[in-house]
Amino acid sequence: MSTATTESATSTTSAAVGTTDTQKRSFTASAALYLNERTSLAGFIKELGRKAFPDHWSFLLGEVALFSFMVVLITGTFLTFFFQASMAPTHYSGPYVPLKGVEMSVAMSSTLNISFEVRGGLFVRQMHHWAALLFVAAIGLHMLRVFFTGAFRKPRELNWTVGFTLFILAMAEGFTGYSLPDDLLSGNGLRIIDGLIKGIPLVGTWISFLLFGGEFPGTAIVGRLYTLHILLLPALVVALIAIHLVFVVVHKHTQYAGPGKSPGNAVGPPILPIYAAKAGGFFFIVFGVLALIASLFTINPIWNYGPYDPSPVSAGTQPDWYIGFADGALRLIPPGWEFQWLDRTWSFNIIVPLVALGIFIILAMIYPFLEAWITGDKREHHIADRPRNAPTRTAIGAAGVTFYAGLWAAASSDILATHFSLTMEGVIHTLQAITVLGPFAAYFITKRVCLALQKKDREIALHGFESGRIVALPGGEFIEVHKQLDEYERWRLISFESYTPLMVRPDVRGRISTRQRIRGVLSRWFFEDRIAPVTKAELESAKHDHH
């Protein structure tokens, strides 16, 4: 395996700089020299090309997101050539029989035109939509990987926030795109957003009128969403991706503990040539998988949904998966959360889920800062944690995932009911319980499982595996021989950090501030139950016990 640390360096480009003009140069060398004399690229390429990228499958999830975003950009550009973001009424005159002569907006009719008349249009439209779904899914999985391995710790807290903002922007991109065709499904989706906005006290109606340019649905929204979808949001996403990647280069990539891997280095193949070749090939694989899916599987058949009309709502009307958690939150609120007071209706059906989701999102976004404050750890961390070695964090993550999953499943409550022969009410009540109580159950179970796994690791590191081989000693004693781990395997099990709960101490003026007390309580919650890593002394004595 070819490995390189970030410090080591040689590059063909820099070698070319030093050669004299009398020698006959290859075209590549001449071109490289020409470029370098004018741009000083050599230093940059030398620095970047020798960066090491640790090898682990989960480190490629962010790349999947990046690559599917590139597919979204390429296919989206094609679609803008044919899509017309206008809500002016027209009559469909294309080849799809069940819509012939039906009145619809120009936006809908141009989307149908893309689907049925533009050569390759339906393929590109489906690829755009599938790639968008994959984009957000890959972001989600990438975020889970970063969270559960603690890769958001110093110095990467800011990059977590940048990434989280990207996740929110990706959802916004997805939703604005979902709303553009002006078919029945997208109109129903917008109507729910309109309802959400109007559910905000005092300002809701004003915001809704501002957004839709008057009473819903109006004639302005598609054009406005289009500007957001193809101009503002993509520009922000591209800018933040650039920042995100610059941060990755600046911080170096995290790596899992292993022999030769220290917080001061990054072990893996260098970007040039190995990693760049792998990543370049991987882009085409992602592109190919998306192309295959797009050519075989229908997505968003707007011809079924027909043009938007405020009166019909189809059974099975759902948002795309990444907005599902918000739709689910609305579905889970029990009926009747409103009352009359001061001659006004005070409704909590919308504002409660909105606030709950807002808090959930903010907590997830600032989690790195919270954890850093609780641990009081100011050191840099470049070795990724195994989830079990940070039991409280892993348990918090599991609770968050359960909460999200409950909301997410609730968005498909009707489909769950029909396809598993359940009652709608039963599904909703079960999911209400899962969403509210599930996180607590998930927290305790996960924490105990993590501690148990740590105990098992400790046992294996100290005493090895039971080999099942019984040996009779000359004195008549029977012993079971334990098979010891080799050094490499053991290193993986014992090299982790463990925190002890903070001691609350008086400050210079002899007082204990409330801040410190809270921090003490939180720290105790985090680190009270813990399995200490195996110490050198324990290892030594264990070696003397068994042979």
């Binding site: 499958w57 069940p98 029945l184 075989l296 009166s311 359940l422």
Partner: protein, 264 residues
């Protein structure tokens, strides 16, 4: 010599098979022409006393336990006086009746009776009191305006049955079934009789021509596969999300594992 003798004296040996084939095509063609929706009535005269008597026997043997000996209904099942032949043809023809077990809703299952028996049962129930009749084939075999039908379907039917007729959930375990393989006659009968939880769409709500348009649209969706490829059961974004997470991301993750695998 012999050749000419043969030609005049005997028919060609294949003539027999030719005639047989012609006869079969004619019989089959004639049968096909009157079959489909008219199949049951082709062999049974719904108005004859004999048919009604046969129907009554079938009814008393198979339906009377719940619906009563005079079809007057009971505590567990409604009266069938006045429900008409259309109701019987729908309920028994789709296998919903006789019900296998009490539940929120009678599910569709393979019919228990032959077409002839169903026609006899329908004739008996229709003889009790006037009610919706089995629709004429001209209204149930398509040929209307699919675009108008699609619009009517979206406005009147899609909130329960889904825009693509894939079905949907109702309250307390009830559901609107999928229409992806329902025959034109049964769709029409369901509209005029309102089986189970479905409302009645009588001729004043939706005219027979409009019903024909709706059936034309549904037949279009039944006969034409999705232009975009496999339709994922036409369930919409839930099926799409499930697909991209399990199959899309699944394949991609398998590839990431392959890319980062260490060579031995």
């Amino acid at each position: 010599m012999t050749r000419t003798k043969r030609r005049t004296g005997r028919r060609h040996p294949f003539v027999f098979f030719g005639l047989l084939l012609l006869g079969l095509i004619l019989t089959g063609g004639a049968y096909a022409a009157v079959s489909d929706d008219a199949r049951a009535r082709a062999s049974v005269d719904a108005n004859s006393q004999h048919t009604i008597d046969e129907g009554k026997k079938l009814f008393q043997a198979n339906c009377a336990t719940c619906h009563g000996l005079q079809a007057q209904g009971s505590g567990t099942a409604p009266s069938l006086i006045g429900v008409g032949a259309a109701s019987v043809d729908f309920q028994v023809g789709t296998g919903r009746m006789p019900m296998a077990a009490n539940g929120p809703q009678a599910p569709e299952k393979p019919p228990q009776f032959t077409d002839e028996q169903i026609a006899e049962l329908a004739a008996y129930v229709a003889s009790l009191a006037p009610g919706p009749v089995i629709p004429d084939a001209s209204l149930t075999s398509g040929g209307g305006d699919a675009a108008k039908g699609a619009e009517l379907f979206r406005i009147n039917c899609a909130m329960c049955h889904n825009v693509a007729g894939a079905g949907g959930a109702l309250t307390e375990g009830k559901y609107a079934p999928s229409l992806e393989s329902t025959s034109g006659t049964h769709i029409y009968e369901a509209m005029v009789t309102g089986p189970q939880n479905m409302p009645v769409f009588n001729d004043l709500t939706i005219s027979p021509e409009s019903k024909r348009d709706i059936i034309t649209y549904l037949k279009y969706t039944q006969e034409n596969s999705s232009p975009g490829g496999y339709a994922l059961a036409s369930l919409g974004p839930v099926a799409e999300g499930l697909f991209i997470w399990i199959f899309g991301l699944g394949v991609i993750i398998a590839v990431t594992v392959w890319i980062t695998a260490k060579s031995n």
